[in-house]
Every structure is written in C-alpha cells, then in structure tokens.
Symmetry: C2
Subunit: 141 residues, 2 copies
C-alpha cells in the first residue's frame, strides 16, 4: 500500500496549493519575483529523483512537461529553469520556474539571490487559478 508523505513544513509555509497531478502535488511559491511552481511527488520517503520507482520517474517527466507548458502559457517566460536540488528541504521536490531577462537573478539561478516579495492581495490566488486552469488544459491534451 502506498504511503503518502506529509508536506514538509518549509514547503507548506512557502507555497500555496495549485492542483494534484497523478504523481505530484503542484504548489505555487509565495514569491512574486518569479512565476515558480514546485512539484512534490506524493509517495513517502522520496529524497532524490532516483528514489522514484521507474514508472514514477517516467510520470515525473510527464508532469514536469505539463507544468512547463503551463508555465509558458501563463507567464510567457523567456526561459524555463527545471531543477531538483533539495539541499535545504530534504523532501523530493522539483522546481519549474519561468525566467525573464529582466528578473532580479537573471542570468544566474534564483535561489538565495533576493528576498521573496509577497504577491499583492488576491494576486496569489488568481495566479494559482491561472496555473490550475493551464495545467488541467495540458493534462487533458
């Protein structure tokens, strides 16, 4: 029987829920500096991508693809950054970030460059709605 992991408190604090895909829960980071999705596979005890069962690793790539297309649709970003780092939060999570040539960290990676900026009231939920719609559309294709 599959055991589902509880969301790490740091991921819980830093994000809002967007949607559940078959393998992963999709979250939106509370940081208006960048459009930034985080995919958290739900099987318990995952730390590295290679901890995923082979069919889950395939599905991970499918869900990265879905969220990447949704990111392009919603944000019209110039570049996608996809990464599984996890040096600070051990629960396996995959970042799908929309990058812009005038964003605060360009062309470097985003982590630790500038403090998070809160979204304006209502904007976080509205962004999460846009991503949910785009991800559902991609999943249906």
């Amino acid at each position: 029987m599959l055991t589902h992991a509880a969301l790490h408190p740091q991921l819980e604090a830093d994000t809002v829920f967007v949607t559940d895909l078959p393998l992963s829960t999709v979250l939106l980071a509370r940081d208006a500096n960048y459009p930034w999705l985080i995919l958290v596979p739900r099987p318990a005890g995952m730390v590295e991508l290679i901890d995923l069962a082979p069919q889950d690793a395939n599905q991970m790539m499918v869900e990265i693809t879905i969220c990447s297309h949704a990111m392009q649709t919603v944000s019209a970003c110039h570049k996608l950054n996809v990464a599984a780092l996890g040096n600070q939060v051990p629960q396996l999570h995959v970042h799908v970030i929309g990058r812009f040539k005038d964003d605060p960290a360009w062309p470097g990676p985003i982590w630790g460059v500038v403090p998070a900026i809160a979204y304006a009231p209502g904007e976080l939920e509205s962004r999460a709605d846009q991503f949910r719609t785009a991800i559902n559309q991609q999943s249906a294709d």
Copy 2:
C-alpha cells in the same frame, strides 16, 4: 533524418568527454570543486526539456537516472543536484552534480559561487574514466 547538434563552444571549453548514451553525450566539468556531469541530448535545436520528443523525454529521465547512480558510486556524494537551467548556454544540457556538506557552495546551488578549480594533472582523465566505467555498468544493469 535526425540532425545532431554541434556542442556549444562554452560546453566544449568547460568539460571533457565521458561517454555517449543513446540520447545524450555525457561530459565532465573541468572543475574540481564538485563532481559534475553534464548531459547534452544530441538532437539539434533543443533548448528546453519540453523541446524533446516524448520518447526522448523518457530516455532523458533514464539517462539522468543512470548518471545519478554513477555519481553516487564514483563520488559517494551526500546529495544529488539535477538541473536544466540554460540561461547562459542555450543548448539544452542537464547538470547532475554530486554535493557534499563541506563543498564551497553548500547548501546553496553551485553556479557562480566560487571560480572553477583545475583538476591536478591526470586527475581529470582518471575521473572521466571512473565515470565512464560506472555509467557503462549502470547502463548494462
């Protein structure tokens, strides 16, 4: 007919060849700060992971898995970092980096933190040999 991309000059300059997997050429970064493989899928014109054909995206995950296991075998790293960023070098490439809790960038990401350190004479080739052996072993499993 499949056209193969030439390796971007920056990747050529910063790495040595390790081996060819079915989809990707595997390179080792000339930076002794971190054990650092770079996978470059050979189809021409790839920029984002989502540019890969669906069967190539599956194969990309297989090859990330092979190189991740090889990284653990060769380096005994504490954590894997896997990332497709490409903000500076547009040719699609995937980093598979072995991280240590006492490496110069821990716990942040490695890019742009400290200048690259050259390997000692012979050590780069010896490391590339170790990775080639481990990757071939993983591919055979």
